[in-house]
Each structure stands twice: as structure tokens, then as C-alpha cells.
């Protein structure tokens, strides 16, 4: 386990190699943009039949993160399901697996633009959550302070030694933190995109997902 830390409004947060965020003192694990059931939605809308394994792959990684951190609260920061019908598409095994992960924990579904309503899968459904000095919501709001959000699937791109390396990343400055997408079937928005650059201050940094986590300043453009 790495030792990288981010301080937001005096709260010390730990980005994990998996792309999840851990807050020690309330034992809170935050995951964003799981996009469970994405293959189902693609099949329904386009007819293309992707390998239908993204849900079990994400559940397996969540299980590992829960085991490693012993989290008592889990916040899924929106776009947990690729759409509301995709939430219905989980098969029996996957539902039971999710229920097992939820057992004995506080589990919060924050609503996202893909999943704007409650789902019948246990846990609490909220538009956003305030915990201590922090606000957890799906899409960052301009001017917010002490905010943890997702939505954009930020990814870093580095060119070094004639090679280009792309990695999902956490983006943060003193006031906000944007989580990478945790879901298996997710792409990314480049860290220098105007949507992202406009939200973060000049001193913004990125923590690149992986073992170990590399922390870099975000380039201007």
C-alpha cells in the first residue's frame, strides 16, 4: 500500500492504487464512475455484444479494496450504473455479491448523470453528501470548496523517451479533488482538457493510478 496523501480542508485523504479514495478516520471508501452494466446498455442500444464481465471485474476490485482498508462506509460517487436499466440487468450472482459487500456497512449511492434515480439494490440514495468539512457530489460545481467529485474520468498523458504513457488519475488542488473512473469499461478525459483545467487552480496536481502512485503537477495545456 502506498503512502501518498492529499489534504483537503484539513482532511487527510489517501488515493489508492486501484483508483478508490480512502479517508482513515471515518473509515470511508469513495469510488466514482463504476458504470456497472455498461455492456448491457451497449447491447441494448447498439446491438454490439461486449464481454459482459465489467460488473464482476469491478466487484472483485471493490472487494479487494474493502478487505485492505476495512472501510465501514462506502460512497459510490455517481454513474455507478451505466443507466437505470443497466442496474436492473445485474444477474443474480452479481446482486448477491453486491449485497455481501454492503452487509454491515453504510453504503451510499450518490446520483450521477447516468443514474439519476434510486436503484433497488440496498444502500441509501442521495443527490450529494456532506461529511465533516467535505461535500461528495458527482459533478464538480464551480467555486465549490472542500469538494470531492467524479464524472470526468480524468487521465494523465506523459511523453517521455519517445513513448506515450496514459493513466487514469486523481486531480486535486487545495479546494477540490476529482476521482478517476473506477469502472472497468471506462475511457478518460485528458487532464489538460479545458473542462478540467477550468475547475482546478494553477497549482493542480495529479496522482496517477497504479502501484506506486506517481504525483505530478498538471501541465497548463
Amino acid at each position: 500500500m502506498n503512502t501518498c496523501e492529499i489534504t483537503l480542508r484539513g482532511v487527510r485523504l489517501r488515493p489508492l492504487a486501484s483508483g478508490a479514495l480512502f479517508w482513515d478516520e471515518p473509515e470511508l471508501l469513495c469510488l466514482s464512475d463504476l458504470h456497472l452494466g455498461k455492456s448491457d446498455r451497449i447491447a441494448r442500444r447498439t446491438g454490439t455484444l461486449m464481454p459482459p464481465y465489467e460488473t464482476r471485474d469491478a466487484l472483485m476490485r471493490i472487494e479487494a479494496d474493502l478487505a485492505a482498508t476495512g472501510a465501514r462506509t462506502v460512497i459510490c460517487l455517481g454513474d455507478s450504473f451505466d443507466d437505470l436499466a443497466a442496474a436492473q440487468s445485474l444477474d443474480e450472482d452479481e446482486r448477491l455479491w453486491l449485497a455481501r459487500l454492503q452487509a454491515g456497512r453504510r453504503w451510499i449511492w450518490i446520483e450521477g448523470n447516468h443514474d439519476p434515480g434510486p436503484v433497488d439494490l440496498g444502500g441509501t440514495h442521495l443527490a450529494e453528501l456532506r461529511q465533516g468539512p467535505l461535500t461528495f457530489r458527482h459533478i464538480a460545481e464551480p467555486g465549490a470548496r472542500g469538494e470531492v467529485s467524479g464524472h470526468y474520468h480524468p487521465k494523465a498523458r506523459i511523453v517521455a523517451r519517445g513513448r506515450q504513457i496514459s493513466r487514469a488519475c486523481f486531480l486535486f488542488d487545495a479546494e477540490r479533488l476529482i476521482l478517476p473512473a473506477y469502472g472497468t469499461y471506462t475511457g478518460g478525459l485528458i487532464w489538460t482538457a479545458p473542462e478540467l483545467r477550468g475547475l482546478l487552480g494553477r497549482e493542480a496536481r495529479a496522482a496517477l493510478v497504479g502501484e506506486p502512485l506517481h504525483v505530478l503537477p498538471v501541465p497548463a495545456a
Binding site: D40, A43, R44, T46, G47, T48, L49, M50, P51, P52, Y53, E54, R56, D57, S89, D91, Y152, H153, I158, V159, A160, R161, G162, R163, Q164, I165, A181, T184, Y185, T186, G187, G188, L189, I190, L208, G210, P212, H214, V215, L216, P217
Partner: protein
């Protein structure tokens, strides 16, 4: 049949032309189910294919489509339309000829479906698209003949497999359909004939007079060729001299990058400003058309080119072909040589320019093979199943179908004759349900079976998206290059995305023979200016890097066993003699491995002679095994004939490294994470219809985070469903192409563990050129992480931040 109507005969007489014997032969065989014509370029091959059609249509009695002509190039279809227009107009034949390609307008296409011409000229992709419409049987009703031009080229790719499946489909609508194939000289005409004919119909092969022996030799230069490299720069004065002495010269190169460099250097030395152009597949269409136009008008003295000129348009006035770099493959050399002196019965003239000392040996071996008419080629594999999956989708677009009927039809295509019913069913299952082992799509199947047993699209609207993604040609990840200006900028061509990613504003590179300066990236277009203030980088272009063929490699190994080499230039013969004195020369049935220290590192050189792709793979596998054994390999470099590995530990016993089973096991593991495999998978998944290259505008999402990389699908299947159909197909392809494990197997089979390990205290003559070879590969012991860590430290230090 067999006789030409008098008006056609008199047109020939009027022109003072004779009907060639092979043209007669095709007329005589007009009613045969399939005929293959093998003829050199310029032998009136295309006319031979069309004469029976012209004869049959001369009386104006036929209505509707009569002959379908398929060519691999759109440009060729347009060219043929013009060429056929002349006799049809002059004889006054009542025949309508039209072409239909990706460039044809939508109105024209629609009209062609309702009212088809007598002769339709098209490409395999446009034909596949036509067959996906419900009205295909009506459009093709009455079709009598199909002519497949340049069939030798189509047979080398999946486009040919797709075409043959389409023809099997057509044959169901038109049972009396006759097939004619037109081919350049090939090593195994029987294989092309089986590929062409409806299985198990016979296919007669007609050989046109091959014409006089080509006049082919190695270019004499004052300069000695260098020890390594592929540019052929040393030969520029001699090449310019040859260009001056001929009317028009084609200068072939093996790669686009080499063509660019050579062209650039040629112009620096072109004191007389001879008009010389460049042509390759990464240049913008406008640029290529300009060069083709100038060539047709006779305005150019030479064209520096690549395989993009291997096919197609007849340049009548070419009187010299120069091949720079070893030809790698004798068949392609012969076909290239044939591009000079198209006039029947004039000998083709060609010069070979070896780019380095080793290539001198390869060129001499190739010259001997040409003289002996000993052509080479890889045997054609079975019809690939990703193409079959697409064919099933095409069938579904056209309407409900029965699995039994479609299977019966598919196995009549020669390449699919041995497809088992179980294999077919697996493809159908993949198309219908995804074919996944651990979880099934039940509600959203792509195809569903109706109560009457026929299969149909679950959602008929899906047909539009399927049609948008037909074809087997793979777009590579390239970015367009444009001159930056207010009017949008002139297109220059394209470069690989990975190359573009390494550019920073101010860098310069070569494209279309000019040095341009990278200014920035705008909406996936590389913007450049004409400010050449730095020495140019070398742009990398996709495009095949050919491996030396198995047969040519074997010929070189046989040459090595000679006592002396009077046929080689003195410097090259002496070099081989020195190798024999200090070490050994490689032999075909043994594997020579040399180990020696050099420059503070320990080196091992493996002379596998398996071709560049397989040698690259061998380098990756052997270094992975050395890493496991604690031999700390640091990197390697490979060529067509050897791989040179360097590291920290001495290799005592190479035998365990080449134990076939262990090597295969390492291969399996290595495949899982390999970038080449992921690229192969992407191509397979795209052809099979899992990935879409084109999406309707209405369905495009704004945010780019909506799309995810196909590498994720590969990793997911490798983890949860490693035996999925697409993974099977991907592994099958790894035996050929860029991974080419098949040639490693061939090397293991021919040497059978007979290893000669020569340990020396210094490097050997044969290994020396490898030290100068570009393309060194560092061994990836977590190299990516290391580079990332370095970059992070550096950026942080530059930003004045503490880590």
C-alpha cells in the same frame, strides 16, 4: 462461343492488333465454371478477361447486369471504365459500363441498384455492401460472369476471403455464374485457382507467354555498401546516373520512411533538377494523384515509391525499375520488375541496390532465384473466422437466413471448404449472443432465431450501423498532416499517432519529400509549416515491414555452404571468409549462437534466419527467459537473420533457452500482455463486428470519456474468457504477421535442438553489423514504471516542487 463477332474482329484488324493466344484461350473457355489467367503485366490481361463479355453482349439481347469486375483498387475500376469505353464506343457496342466504389455518389448508387449497367466495376467492399441489401437477388439477377483482377494481391489478405464469401453468396442467386481470375506470376497458381473456384468445381489455368527473360542485375557503385542500415544512400550518385540514362525509372523501397529519406537525399544531389516525384500510401490522396497525373503525362523521369505502386495503373513508359534494399521476397521482386517495359515482348530491365553488406548476399541469392524462376510465398491459410463473422452479419442485414443454408454456401468458398459445422456454429453463436462462456446475453441478442428456425436481426435498425462498418481493411492509428494556414491548409499525408505524440512544437520531420515544422495538434490534425530550421526527425509510417521469405533465407544459408563466392563482390566474399575463419557460417539444419564480450557487456548473437518479425519475437521471448534465469539481459536488436542480445551475465549453455516447449510456454504468457497482440485483437474484433470504426453522427457523444480502449476488452477476455472465439482467432493470427511465431516453429523444426555455441573473446564479422543496426529494444523489466518515475522526478524538480 469461342468466336468473336465480326465487328469486334474488324476493330482489332483496324487497329492492326492481333488477338493474343491467351485472349483466344479465354474466349474458348467462356463457358467453363472458372478459369485463372496468369500473365505478366502489359500482356492484355484485362482485355482477355473482358473479351468474352464484349462478345456475349454484342447483339444487345442481354438486359440487366451481365459481368461484375472486381479490383482491389478504386482507381483501377475507374481506369478500366475509361479503357473499356474506347473499344465499346469505337465498335459501337450496345453496352453500358459503370463503376461503383466508395467514391460513387449516393444518387448514382441508388440508381445502380434499381437499374444496373451491363458491366459493373467495383471493389470487394462495395460488393459486400450491395449484398447486405434485401434487393440484392433482384439486382444481380441475370449476372453471368465475374472477373477478379489482381487476384494474386487479393488472395494475400482478408479482402480476398471476404470477396470469395460474397461470390459464394452471389452464386446462390445466379447458379450459372462463371468466374475468371487475372493474376500476375505467382509461386503456386494451383492455390490461387482453388481460392477462385467454387468448391469443388475445377478451375483451368491459362498461362500467357511470360515474355523474354528480364534483364536484371546488381547496381555497380563506386562506393562500397555500408555495414548496416537500410537507406541505400551510398548509391545515390549511381542511381541518379541510371535515371539520366533511361526515360522513366521507378525506384522501389521497402518502407515509406526509407522512401522519404532517399527522396530527400536524392533531391539534395539532383544538380540537374531532373523531375522526380514520390509516391507512398501515407501521402494525401491529392498528393498521390498529382504524381500519378504527372507520371501518366510523361512529365517525370523517376518516382521514388513503395508497395503503393505494386498494383494498378499501367505506366507504359517505364523502362527501368530500381529496387533499393534487399527484395525480401522473390515473387514481389518479379512482379515489381514486370512494371518496366509493359510493352509485350520487351525485356524488363531492373537494378538491385543492396543497402548494406549483408543485403549484397541477399540480392545475389534473389537474382539466382529469379533466373531459376524459383518463386516464394507463404501457403495460404484457412479462411479467417473473423471475416466469416462479418459475412454472417451481412447475411442478416439482407434478411432472415437459415443456418444450414448459410453453412452449405460458405463451405463452397475454397478458403472455407474445410470449415467444420461446429466452427461455423461458434461463429454464428458469437454474432448472435456474443458467445461468452460465463454470462449470456439473453434479452439483447444481436440475432435471434424465429419460430420457423430462421435467424434475423433482433433490431432491424442495427443494419445501418453494420453497413457502416463493413470491410476488412484496417485503419491504422494515424493523424492527418496539414499545412497550417487560414484556409484550412493543404493536406500532405498522415503519420502514426504514436509518432505524432513524440513531437513538440518546433520539431521538424520529412513528409512527401519536404521538411516541415510541427506547430501543434488541432482536432486530431497535425498542423505544420514549411519552416525547416532543424534537422528532420524520421516520421514513422504504418505499412508492412516485409520479412525475408523462408525460401530466400534458405537460399542464403545454402550459399553460405559454398567453398568460395565468385558471384559476390570481393569485399562481401572476404567478409564471409573471415567469418568462417574466426567462427562459423550459419547452417540450415543447425542453430549457430555466438557469445562474446564487447564494450564491457556480454553479447549473444542467435542466427535464426526466420525473418524480421519472427526474430523480433524471438528476441523478446529469449530475453524474457534469460531474465527468469537471472542472466540480466539489458536489450536486444534484431534483423531478418539474427538477434543480438546484450546483458551482464555470460551465457554458459544456450540449449535450455531454445527448448521448444519452454519457448512455447513463454510465448503463451508473453502473448497475454503484448501490444502487438492487442493490435491484432483490435483488428479481429473490428472485422468480426464487436468494435465499430464508424458510428452514426446522431449517436456520437460529446465527451470523449464515453469511449474506452479496445485493450481493456482484450485484458478482460484474457482474464475471464481466454478461450473466447476472438481470442482463438487472435492467437491464430499471431502465428503469422507481426508476431510470426510460425517461423520460430519452422526454425525449431529445422534445427531440432542442434545448437552450435561458439564462445569467443571478441565480436565476429557476421555479428559486427548488428552493432550498427537501429531499433534496439530495451528489455522491459518494469521499464515503464522506471520511465514514469524518472519523468515524475524530473518534472517535479523542474517545477521546483519537493517530491
Amino acid at each position: 462461343m469461342g468466336a468473336l463477332p465480326p465487328n469486334i474482329t474488324s476493330w482489332f484488324d483496324h487497329r492492326g492488333w492481333q488477338v493474343h493466344p491467351h485472349q483466344h484461350a479465354l474466349l474458348d473457355r467462356a463457358e467453363e465454371p472458372a478459369v485463372l489467367l496468369i500473365a505478366p503485366t502489359g500482356g492484355g490481361k484485362t482485355l482477355a478477361g473482358f473479351l468474352p463479355t464484349l462478345a456475349a453482349l454484342a447483339d444487345g439481347a442481354h438486359t440487366g447486369l451481365h459481368t461484375l469486375y472486381i479490383s482491389p483498387l478504386k482507381a483501377l475500376a475507374a481506369d478500366i471504365r475509361r479503357n473499356l469505353g474506347t473499344p465499346i464506343a469505337e465498335i459501337g457496342l450496345p453496352i453500358r459500363v459503370e463503376d461503383r466504389t466508395g467514391d460513387t455518389s449516393a444518387t448514382q448508387k441508388k440508381r445502380q441498384r434499381a437499374d444496373p449497367p451491363h458491366i459493373l466495376l467495383t471493389t470487394p467492399e462495395s460488393l459486400a455492401l450491395l449484398l447486405s441489401y434485401e434487393d440484392a437477388p433482384r439486382m444481380f439477377a441475370g449476372l453471368r460472369r465475374v472477373i477478379v483482377d489482381e487476384i494474386h494481391a487479393l488472395a494475400e489478405s482478408k479482402r480476398g476471403d471476404q470477396l470469395m464469401l460474397a461470390l459464394a453468396r452471389l452464386q446462390t442467386f445466379c447458379p450459372g455464374l462463371r468466374r475468371v481470375g487475372l493474376s500476375a506470376t505467382v509461386e503456386d497458381p494451383g492455390a490461387i485457382a482453388r481460392f477462385l473456384a467454387l468448391h469443388p468445381d475445377p478451375c483451368e489455368i491459362v498461362y500467357a507467354d511470360p515474355g523474354p527473360e528480364p534483364d536484371i542485375s546488381m547496381l555497380e557503385t563506386g562506393e562500397r555498401p555500408p555495414w548496416s542500415g537500410g537507406g541505400g544512400r551510398y548509391a545515390i550518385p549511381a542511381v541518379l546516373e541510371a535515371v539520366k540514362q533511361h526515360r522513366t525509372t521507378l525506384i522501389f523501397h521497402n518502407t515509406r520512411a526509407q522512401a522519404e529519406i532517399f527522396f530527400h537525399e536524392l533531391w539534395l544531389a539532383n544538380d540537374e533538377s531532373l523531375p522526380i516525384g514520390i509516391h507512398h500510401g501515407s501521402l494525401a490522396r491529392e498528393q498521390r494523384e498529382r504524381v500519378e497525373g504527372a507520371m501518366a503525362a510523361g512529365d517525370l523521369r523517376a518516382i521514388v515509391c513503395t508497395g503503393s505502386l505494386d498494383l494498378g495503373i499501367d505506366w507504359g513508359d517505364v523502362d527501368l525499375v530500381i529496387q533499393v534494399g534487399a527484395p525480401k521476397n522473390v515473387k514481389r521482386l518479379v512482379q515489381r520488375i514486370g512494371r518496366a517495359n509493359h510493352r509485350y515482348n520487351a525485356p524488363s530491365k531492373a537494378l538491385l541496390v543492396p543497402a548494406n553488406r549483408f543485403e549484397v548476399v541477399e540480392c545475389v541469392a534473389a537474382l539466382e532465384a529469379v533466373k531459376a524462376r524459383d518463386l516464394d510465398g507463404e501457403p495460404r491459410g484457412r479462411g479467417p473466422r473473423d471475416v466469416l463473422c462479418q459475412h454472417i452479419l451481412i447475411a442478416a442485414c439482407a434478411g432472415p437466413f437459415g443456418a444450414d443454408d448459410l453453412y452449405a454456401e460458405v463451405i463452397r468458398a475454397g478458403a472455407y471448404a474445410r470449415l467444420t459445422r461446429a466452427e461455423f456454429d461458434a461463429c454464428l453463436d458469437f454474432v448472435a449472443t456474443g458467445g461468452y462462456a460465463l454470462r449470456a446475453y439473453d434479452r439483447w441478442q444481436r440475432l435471434k432465431q424465429r419460430p420457423d428456425g430462421l435467424w434475423e436481426l433482433r433490431d432491424p435498425r442495427a443494419a445501418t450501423r453494420i453497413r457502416m462498418n463493413l470491410g476488412t481493411i484496417q485503419d491504422t492509428d494515424t493523424l492527418k498532416v496539414r499545412l497550417k494556414n487560414r484556409m484550412g491548409g493543404k493536406p500532405l499525408g498522415e503519420v502514426e499517432e504514436a509518432f505524432a505524440a513524440t513531437l513538440t512544437p518546433g520539431d521538424t520531420f520529412l513528409i512527401g519529400g519536404q521538411v516541415v515544422r510541427y506547430e501543434g495538434l488541432r482536432e486530431m490534425t497535425v498542423e505544420v509549416t514549411r519552416r525547416a530550421d532543424k534537422p528532420p526527425k524520421i516520421a514513422t509510417f504504418m505499412g508492412t515491414k516485409f520479412a525475408t521469405s523462408t525460401q530466400l533465407s534458405a537460399r542464403i544459408l545454402r550459399m553460405f555452404q559454398q567453398e568460395s563466392w565468385p558471384e559476390l563482390p570481393g569485399h562481401t566474399g572476404e567478409w564471409l571468409g573471415l567469418q568462417r575463419r574466426f567462427s562459423k557460417l550459419p547452417e540450415a539444419d543447425r542453430l549457430l549462437i555466438e557469445s562474446f564480450p564487447h564494450d564491457g557487456r556480454l553479447h549473444t548473437c542467435v542466427y535464426g534466419f526466420a525473418g524480421r518479425n519472427a526474430m523480433q519475437t524471438l528476441g523478446l521471448l529469449v530475453t524474457a527467459r534469460m531474465d527468469e534465469m537471472g542472466l540480466a539481459p539489458m536489450g536486444f536488436v534484431s534483423t531478418d537473420y539474427a538477434v543480438l542480445i546484450w546483458g551482464l551475465e555470460i551465457l554458459e549453455d544456450p540449449a535450455p533457452l531454445f527448448a521448444a516447449d519452454d519457448l512455447r510456454k513463454t510465448f503463451e504468457t508473453w502473448l497475454a500482455g503484448n501490444a502487438v497482440m492487442k493490435r491484432t485483437f483490435r483488428a479481429v474484433a473490428t472485422i468480426a463486428g464487436l468494435l465499430e470504426r464508424n458510428i452514426p453522427t446522431s449517436a456520437r457523444k460529446s465527451g470523449r470519456q464515453a469511449t474506452f480502449s479496445s485493450d481493456i476488452l482484450y485484458d478482460t477476455l484474457a482474464k475471464y474468457d481466454p478461450d473466447h472465439l476472438l481470442m482463438q482467432i487472435t492467437r491464430e493470427e499471431a502465428l503469422r504477421g507481426l508476431v510470426d511465431f510460425g517461423r520460430i516453429e519452422e526454425m525449431l523444426a529445422r534445427t531440432e535442438g542442434r545448437i552450435d555455441h561458439v564462445v569467443l573473446d571478441r565480436l565476429t564479422p557476421l555479428a559486427a553489423p548488428l552493432f550498427l543496426e537501429p531499433g534496439r529494444v530495451p528489455v522491459q523489466g518494469g521499464a515503464t514504471e522506471r520511465i514514469l518515475a524518472e519523468a515524475a522526478d524530473r518534472i517535479i524538480a523542474e517545477a521546483g516542487l519537493a517530491s
